[in-house]
Assembly symmetry: C2
Homo-oligomer: 165 residues x 2
């Protein structure tokens, strides 16, 4: 396998200082305010971004120490292959979250719904566009079966904490 | 900025051998068959994935040589900040595409709609779940204004080729 190097382009600042009780997906962080401190050398790359209501953040899950090929994800009690889950314990610790963009002030992006730890290194910002990014008529295996309204505000539990730290 | 290292977990094999006439988004590659050759040491991580109709691939845009903070994207004739576009010439050359998963045979994933170059190094596979990934009532700035039906089958042009190679 060939090594691929990236650099953090900024830091995501959220109110989630520890892995306990942090949201599992953006819907679990709905309305929570956060900011991105973009490295100021990239500020020119933000031109026209403020016209977008949502952006997809790609970031380094920097607290993940190792990966597991079988995991018991938060929404289930049975093991699944890690690639069939959104568990952070992946071979490459890369996370993606589509968040709400509120406003941009110079190198600071004010966002909402960021389900990430405070201090998370940011790798990329992509504008969200329904025509590119939404899908319809999908099947989602065990997630479809486990989904119900109680999961709409997802927070982590002890199991999640133990499995990362 | 701190350096972050990842390793390719596999290779995406598509019919797009050069950047000319390759699709810009999965909708431009609709129905095109492709495969993922996963490094066999990760095969156990695929358990239960075949029950999903769509997966989001995260990959290295390995032909991108450098980045630009202002780009003229394929769908427009005006410059935008690179973070307000899906241009590959980003500070970290990371691409994401949600593709159709047809079947899984051991370490080979048969997929459709992959808008990536043959030989692209794969970084992660995430299961697509409408409840996590779709958004409604979004605003998408210049993309909303430029969008019309003629862009539903997006192919690259000379400008795109020049801007990457």
């Amino acid at each position: 396998m060939s090594e691929i190097k990236f650099e953090s382009i900024g830091i995501i600042r959220t109110s989630y200082k520890t892995l306990e009780n942090m949201p599992i997906q953006p819907m679990g962080a709905k309305g929570e305010k956060a900011i991105i401190e973009l490295n100021s050398k990239f500020v020119d790359g933000l031109k026209d971004l403020e016209e977008f209501s949502h952006v997809t953040l790609i970031y380094h899950l920097h607290k993940v120490k190792d990966y597991k090929l079988h995991v018991i994800p938060f929404m289930d009690t049975e093991e699944h292959g890690v690639f069939a889950t959104r568990s952070p314990r992946r071979p490459n610790a890369i996370g993606i979250s589509t968040v709400r963009l509120i406003r941009v002030n110079d190198n600071i992006l004010h966002i909402e719904d960021a389900d990430v730890l405070d201090g998370t290194p940011l790798l990329d910002i992509k504008p969200f566009f329904i025509q590119f990014d939404n899908r319809e008529n999908t099947k989602s295996g065990w997630l479809d079966r486990k989904w119900d309204d109680k999961h709409k505000t997802l927070k982590s539990d002890e199991r999640f904490k133990t499995s990362i730290e």
